[in-house]
Symmetry: C2
Subunit: 400 residues, 2 copies
């Protein structure tokens, strides 16, 4: 949908609005793709971030290998929108989920699908359900390695071997395509300790891959080694490309948040990455904003905005105040260092503690910059792509 006669600052649409700066978005898509290619790795962006077919299309057009998803509901959206190669970065367990995947594999010979396994009971359950659903070809699985205290994934090489042997025993229903992990769960507050935790974890994934390869447990054909959220993809590439396997392998990264970056957690992680790499990472720009309106200024140092926890994520911190626009004008006053702070949040309101003499009046507009794009996108059924003057140039649906 194109609707070029609408402008955010002119209040052509009810607020709040979720806005994507189109220029930044397009540059991020191109730059991250180019970065992956220059490093010789495959990119399968985690498309759960925005769940927007219009954005899937941009990532695929830029040349990514496929798209990554985490749930069956997400996969169904992808398939309805013609996505043919899916990295399902999750265990595939449920009966209805497995029936769906198998029916798609049977229906469409071009559907290329990969999912994860991390336990012998999980492999047996998957194999039994795949056998019953009869997709006509094996389901590709990767052994997931996990961080201690983290999420899914085997915690030691011995279990990885047992899981891989269970996959071999489940032929022809399953085929072992590689090894996977998610390093983004590393939890140390201190960044250098976090980096060493990530490094150890990536070395563990390489050890699993080399062991399974040495035992002949990986299927014929190219092998995938995959990790890489949006925080440590440089380290993932550095380490996974060093695996010494007896057959060709490809490293696959799955960052999702690069699409829009953010104004909090991922901005900091990106700064750390640029520091770590001597600025060799892609130059990403924050593209996601939530625009709200001043509803009330009931106390000298309190301003209430018309967007709340149903409009932006808070799991990685509250959004920051970006911009103030006096009602009826298009003059954007930067708020980043002006002392505006979101100190409380209701379902539909943000409570901003502001300096006395803040200059905002009822009806003025304020842009907020969220931290962690995933949990802001999922609050919206449409996001508006805007040009630099906040003209709406495209309205993209999300399919959560």
């Amino acid at each position: 949908m194109t609707s070029s006669d609408q402008n955010v600052l002119r209040e052509d649409l009810p607020l709040p609005l979720c806005v994507l700066r189109a220029g930044a978005l397009e540059r991020n898509v191109a730059r991250f793709q180019r970065y992956a290619e220059s490093r010789g790795v495959l990119l399968s962006p985690h498309a759960k971030t925005a769940m927007s077919p219009a954005l899937f299309g941009r990532q695929l057009a830029a040349g990514c290998w496929g798209l990554t998803f985490a749930t069956c509901a997400q996969l169904q959206v992808a398939r309805r929108h013609g996505v043919s190669r899916v990295f399902y970065a999750n265990q595939l367990v449920g009966a209805a989920e497995i029936r769906y995947v198998c029916s798609e594999l049977r229906r469409d010979p071009h559907f290329d699908f990969y999912c994860l396994v991390d336990s012998v009971p999980g492999v047996r359950l998957l194999a039994e359900r795949v056998a019953a659903a009869d997709p006509g070809r094996p389901v590709n699985v990767l052994v997931e390695g996990g961080l201690a205290g983290g999420r899914c994934g085997v915690r030691d090489v011995g279990t990885a071997v047992a899981v891989a042997e269970a996959v071999r025993a489940a032929a022809p229903h399953l085929a072992l395509a590689g090894v996977e992990g998610f390093e983004g769960l590393a939890r140390h507050q201190d960044s250098s300790r976090r980096e060493s935790e990530v490094r150890d974890f990536l070395a563990f994934l390489v050890r699993i891959a080399e062991t399974l390869d040495g035992r002949g447990l990986l299927q014929a054909g190219p092998v995938l080694l995959s990790a890489g959220g949006s925080a440590f993809y440089d380290m993932v590439i550095d380490q996974l490309t060093t695996a010494r396997l007896s057959r060709p392998h490809q490293v696959l990264v799955r960052s999702g948040c690069y699409l829009t970056e953010d104004w909090g957690a991922y901005a900091s992680l990106q700064d750390e990455l640029q520091r770590r790499t001597g600025s060799a990472g892609p130059a990403l720009e924050p593209a996601l904003e939530v625009w709200a309106q001043v509803l009330s200024a009931p106390e000298p140092e309190l301003v209430i905005l018309s967007a709340g926890r149903r409009d932006f994520g808070q799991d990685a911190g509250n959004p920051v105040a970006l911009t103030h626009v006096r009602r009826g004008t298009d003059q954007c006053r930067p708020l980043r260092d002006s002392g505006w702070q979101m100190t409380a949040v209701s379902d539909q309101h943000a409570h901003m503690t502001v300096p006395a003499g803040h200059g905002a009046e009822v009806g003025d507009l304020v842009a907020l910059g969220p931290s962690h794009p995933c949990t802001t996108f999922d609050k919206w059924r449409v996001v508006h792509l805007v040009d630099d003057d906040y003209n709406i140039i495209e309205t993209a649906s999300t399919c959560f």
Copy 2:
């Protein structure tokens, strides 16, 4: 949509799922309506909780006065679904919002609409925009009283008078229909201090109403006094019905969460209410559950489920584990006192710390009980109404 051949426990649908126990829901709707009627007050449920037209319909059929909403997007959903009386429990500020309200007032003579004002500049802006949009009749407004340090609303009676005078000066575009406040922002941790904060605030609202009445600032016709979230509606009714005005007035409560109750914050608040009233409140039952699947049990005391922060709210605490169902059976084992705890959450996963020997296996189902229904409903595009055996008897859309 009726789909009676599907069952949650049988894994007929991909997980996770948002489930409403239909029996509990229907009883809550009837009991709360009966309670309001027995206390002689009007009920305008806050329908932002679920934003589901199928549930609007049940509340209206039970006899509620109207429905309450908080944003223009919500109001548009209500109007598309034929809701004719709306209490807009928010300041009405934006140009597009005001144009929309006025066009609906002009289009439909049966549309009965009330919104809030809390400042002289806000009244002037609203009046100017209403005048430009020409709805053909006044927009009804209530003066909002606010808690110090809270959200919108005047902080003293003098400002309330100034706002009401501005409304009178804005005739015939605006008409003053009453006084409103939201007591649910009272913040004291200690429940008895919180109750006294609520009591003081309600007395403040009564003082505003009596003052505006004494000065002849309220419009002719019945006057509305409104407060009442889901925590203190008993106190709201006790106190607002004591206002001594020169003309007939009605107390309007706006609870939303009574529809489904919850398993955390609102369950505790409801317990407090029953204690306070000697069990004279309506007997509400928790109706909302999120069903997920065991994806992995990677460590002896760690179980990973297939639902995360994109599937349930966390703003009032993580969900509790309710029920464990062994895959392939319909035997529900209660988990409330079994030591299962959600100790970490990812976008699409819950990390459950469990006792060793927890008895759960990959593929088993687990029901989660959220705290604060609003922020779980808004994660879903459909919710499934189930009977006591978890047969799906209706699938209701949400319109966030």
